[in-house]
């Protein structure tokens, strides 16, 4: 801890009677609020959320909820403690005045803050043609309401479901549909499912899983148009290869957009790629100068990670939201010398076709991949991604108990290819192959990790203003 003489009492005053505002009442916002109260913050706490619901958990929406094993409105997050907040739910934040330290709300209210945490997350990227997007039977899946609506549509027994985009969410939706016995077509622009997140070597395994479960998987195609019937219900989709698919439910699963539009013109370094912040979660302004009173956490944040060359990572990961919220909350209530960097090693999971997919590190940084344990064809394996001679990421299919080892390999910048033998090494694990990620300049369906930018120390940054 810093010595008393560096303190001027302002932190204690902030903790005692300050005003903290959290914009974004989901996982990151809630966990941050709990941490602040845990750290003895007794001032006023305002939680602002555009959805009318208290914080809920999203991962079940594409799994248990679609399977009918859980109800969308029963996904509220358990609380770790009471947070005694002033909840402003169902009202979006519409503007920020950094000089006056106020957040403007959709209903015209203004809320003053001494410290602001922005955790506005992302939303589903909508179907680009607004008229087609309005057709009945066309869905996205991000919110509780989305999940409830889609579940009802699936329960009604559609003749065919079309999923546009085979990222994690799209693949999970396809898996749930098949489990419910529904016909499903998946259209993916890339060469295989999950290519953006895990590369084509693993993507080809995912493609086999789809096909083995009788998913009509179409890769290398784009959906060019959705067609409705006279009653305004979707009935077909037209594909770039000239074919068409008749479907009465269409799920648009094209990744996410960051909720930063409300910050346009505020002077904060916010844009379509998120809000840039330092490793301590403090937001940058458009000049590249770090703010002292505005913090960012969760899916909307982009922050430099020491383990990955200080690249700015945007991580749409549940675990990142939890860890970054905790760090942000800690730092908001700490003297500068007591602040901590957000050093969480990226990790995510997906459950599809009965297979547990887990990953640590940043697979898209990998140029090569080697299957160190098990076999791709058996769909039980561990594979390691290499980048410039070091281990940068790992993925397991139904083999997750080994993952802590690989996480340590990443943390300790272990050499790639791994110079050791392992249990269950097969002939395919003898040498690395190209990981085969798509060219990053070609847009894909929502990779979950976006790499961009450089160390805050070396460069000035240019931000695209919000649209």
């Amino acid at each position: 801890m810093t010595g008393e003489r560096t303190r001027d009492g302002s932190l204690e005053q902030l903790k005692r009677e300050g005003r903290i505002v959290v914009v974004g009442a989901s996982l990151a916002g809630l966990r941050a609020a709990e941490t602040m109260r845990d750290k003895g913050f007794t001032g006023s706490l305002t939680m602002i959320g555009d959805e009318p619901y208290e914080p809920y958990d999203r991962p079940p929406l594409s799994k248990q909820v679609l399977l009918g094993n859980a109800v969308a409105d029963h996904t509220a997050l358990p609380r770790r403690r009471a947070i005694d907040a002033d909840w402003r739910l169902g009202v979006p934040a519409t503007g920020l005045d950094m000089a006056a330290r106020t957040v403007r709300l959709g209903n015209g209210d203004e809320v003053e803050y001494d410290r602001l945490l922005i955790a506005t997350g992302v939303r589903a990227r909508p179907w680009p043609n607004p008229e087609e997007a309005e057709l009945e039977g066309v869905f996205v899946l991000r919110t509780r309401d989305d999940g409830e609506g889609l579940q009802r549509a699936l329960a009604a027994g559609p003749r065919r479901v079309l999923v546009i985009g085979a990222g994690f969410t799209g693949s999970e939706i396809a898996s749930a549909c098949r489990e419910r016995g529904l016909n499903v077509t998946v259209a993916e622009r890339g060469e295989a499912p999950l290519v953006g997140a895990l590369g084509a070597v693993i993507g080809r395994v995912a493609a086999e899983m789809h096909r083995e479960h009788d998913v009509d998987l179409r890769t290398g195609v784009m959906v060019t148009a959705l067609e409705g019937d006279p009653a305004g219900r979707v009935r077909a989709a037209h594909l770039s290869d000239g074919s068409s698919v008749e479907a009465d439910v269409v799920v648009v699963s094209l990744g996410a957009q960051r909720n930063t539009e409300w910050l346009a013109g505020s002077g904060l370094g916010a844009g379509p790629r998120g809000i840039a912040c330092d490793a301590g979660c403090r937001a940058f302004d458009v000049r590249g100068i770090v703010t002292d009173d505005i913090f960012v956490a969760g899916d909307v944040a982009r922050s430099p990670h020491a383990l990955f060359g200080y690249q700015f990572l945007s991580l749409e990961h549940w675990g990142n939201a939890v860890a970054q919220a905790d760090t942000a909350a800690h730092n908001m209530l700490s003297e500068s010398a007591d602040r901590r960097p957000h050093l969480w090693v990226p990790a995510f999971w997906s459950s599809q076709f009965g297979v547990n997919i887990k990953s640590v590190g940043v697979p898209p940084m990998g140029t090569e991949i080697i299957v160190t344990q098990g076999s791709l064809s058996e769909r039980r394996f561990a594979a390691v991604y290499g980048y410039q001679g070091r281990v940068i990421a790992a993925v397991t299919f139904d083999n997750c108990r080994w993952l802590p080892f690989y996480e340590h390999q990443i943390e300790s910048t272990a050499p790639f290819p791994p110079p050791y033998s392992t249990v269950d090494r097969r002939p395919e694990g003898n040498k690395p192959v190209p990981a085969d990620f798509p060219d990053p300049s070609v847009p894909t369906h929502g990779p979950t990790i976006t790499l961009s930018g450089y160390s805050p120390a070396d460069r000035k940054m240019t931000f695209t203003p919000g649209r």
């Binding site: 160190t372 344990q373 098990g374 058996e378 039980r380 561990a382 108990r401 080994w402 993952l403 802590p404 080892f405 340590h408 110079p419 050791y420 033998s421 392992t422 249990v423 269950d424």
Partner: protein, 418 residues
Amino acid sequence: MTQALLREIIDYANRANPYPLYEELRKTPVSHDGTGPYVVSTYYEIHSLLHDPRISSDSRNLKATGDDPLGESADDEGAALPPSFLKLDPPDHDRLRRMTNRPFGPPHTPHRVHDMRDELHGLVDGLIDGIATSGDLDRVDLVDQFAYPFPVTVICRLLGVPHEDEPRFHVWAETLAASLDPDPDADPAQRGKGTTDARMELGMYLAGLIEERRKNPGDDMLSQLATADGPDGAMTTMEALSTSALLLIAGHETTVNLITNGMLTLLRHPDVLQRLREEPGLSVPIVEELLRYEPPVQLLPQRTTLSDIEVAGVAIPKGASLWLVLASGNRDPKRFENPDRFDPDRKDIQHLGLGSGIHSCFGAPLARQEAQLALSELARRLVNPRLLEDPPPYRQNAVLRGPRHLPIACDGVLPKAA
């Protein structure tokens, strides 16, 4: 230094309280000298090795070394039965464990263990009733009268082994459990012979049962192991034999220690015993804390390195023997606050008592249910129980460590719950 310390740990004289020796051991997280095993005693190092794919559980990867007391018995074992999944690596381990899990747990049999609760409760009631009617409450042996017969009956019913055969395989189980015990002074040839004979006899006994179940399958696990044909295919007869032998021995030799160590610990902590009497639900955190504080399996003596590795700054060559001292890791002050304090209110309790990683205890959920029920009912029904000998006499085994007898006295036995 290490060898001397290992000798002390194995020395029966220190069986009642090996923890000061473990504390000494932890001063060197990875200790080794001469040609003996590399002994790992600190929490984080053990934990990471349990998840390290460069570590094998298959003793065929072990380079024979003169001072490893397990070198011989491990080799001899193969003569009678093939290694069980406990001593195999993936993919064989994973396949056999999946197949064994099919009739036991989720996803295929999700309710089996949960739905045994009433049956377990009935067994506990009956055994405690038996203590009441035995007449002599001035000297009750909680091992012979409770902690041994309870899990043995459970594993026999689960597997479908006739309970009247119990005295026969009791002997085999003891012998085989003892073979895990690294006793450097034992004559390896003699021990190996005893182990081989016991495995052979147990194997033949089980082969007869399996043959019979193939003809007349019941809803017991032995029938299901012998006849199942899932996505992983069917087990060979030899695989079914070594798997059922493993379950039978594990069911015999581990839960008994958990329950006995549990009662011993509670009798040494009367405040906790009193709380448990008033709140049966406290048995849940008590059992977790017991798995940390007095784990029934003290160490894993049969891992080996597939590559040269480095652990806590110590280079361990390929083919070396590793001992992972779980019970020591559980008392590591770098991981647990006040590690030598028995504290069922501990919030942070990710113990190593059931292992971790792919070889983590197969029967864990059953052991938990058995121990929770046993301890809460013993606490509730025994009136003023007290230890007659402290420490009680221990079993020889340093690996599967627990009292051989737990003599207590009590003033009465309350009736079972209505």
